[in-house]
Amino acid sequence: MSTSTRTGLGRILVFVYGIFALAATARALVQLGTEASKAPIAYSLSLFSGIVYIVATWALATDRRRLALVTICVELTGVLVVGTLSHPSDIEKASVWSDYGNGYGFVPLVLPFIGLWWLWHIGRRSADAGGPELPA
């Protein structure tokens, strides 16, 4: 059994990340394209979250573990900070991370924890197999 971040559970994880990459980026582009002046900071943040998901998806799909670790940490920080600072009433200005991802079934809050657990799990399995611990 090969140890890669894209096999097994990782295959499903990459797909879920891909969906959020699409959802967050498309949402930001619609927001910035149609009403950018309404809430430029919130919409830029929306776009930033989309880029983070794109990079995380790519990193997990290509077994770039260090990059995946960094992006997922950024993602976790993002959802915690934005979730704490945002108000549930700001639906019009919302990003994927607003209100801890309430608008997306709180999946954005759970996803980085699963991602970090997965990287840890794969790293340990690679170490057990005698492979390199953290290939970049």
Partner: protein, 118 residues
């Protein structure tokens, strides 16, 4: 919710159950399942056409860009899941299809919300 969305949503949930059974039994999807996914994708294409007609008519101030975004975005989900799942013919590959098929009714709820928020 439109009748088409309701029927397609129910169909998606039936296919989701089907996929759960395949995962539990550790069996690979057969041609019937892929045909069902094809039918679902065709339904989404129909929905795009119906949705475009709706937003070009008297839509009463619905967020057109977002609405069309969801309509177009929903077309990508199943083909992407199919391509990504055939790379690994295991339970995980089938799990990818399951995620995609569950996402489809969620997108219907979003479309419904957007239309209701006029």
């Amino acid at each position: 919710m439109t009748a088409l969305q309701f029927v397609l949503g129910l169909f998606a949930l039936v296919v989701a159950l089907w996929l759960v059974v395949l995962i539990v039994l550790d069996r690979q999807p057969d041609d019937y399942l892929y045909a069902a996914l094809g039918v679902l994708e065709f339904g989404l294409l129909m929905q795009l056409v119906v949705g475009l007609v709706m937003v070009t008519g008297d839509h009463g101030g619905v967020n057109v860009a977002a609405y069309v975004g969801y309509l177009v975005g929903s077309l990508v989900v199943l083909p992407a899941a199919f391509l990504w799942s055939v790379g690994e013919r295991t339970r995980a590959g089938t799990g990818v299809l399951l995620v995609a098929v569950v996402v489809v009714p969620v997108l219907f709820l979003r479309l419904h919300q957007l239309w209701g928020a006029r």
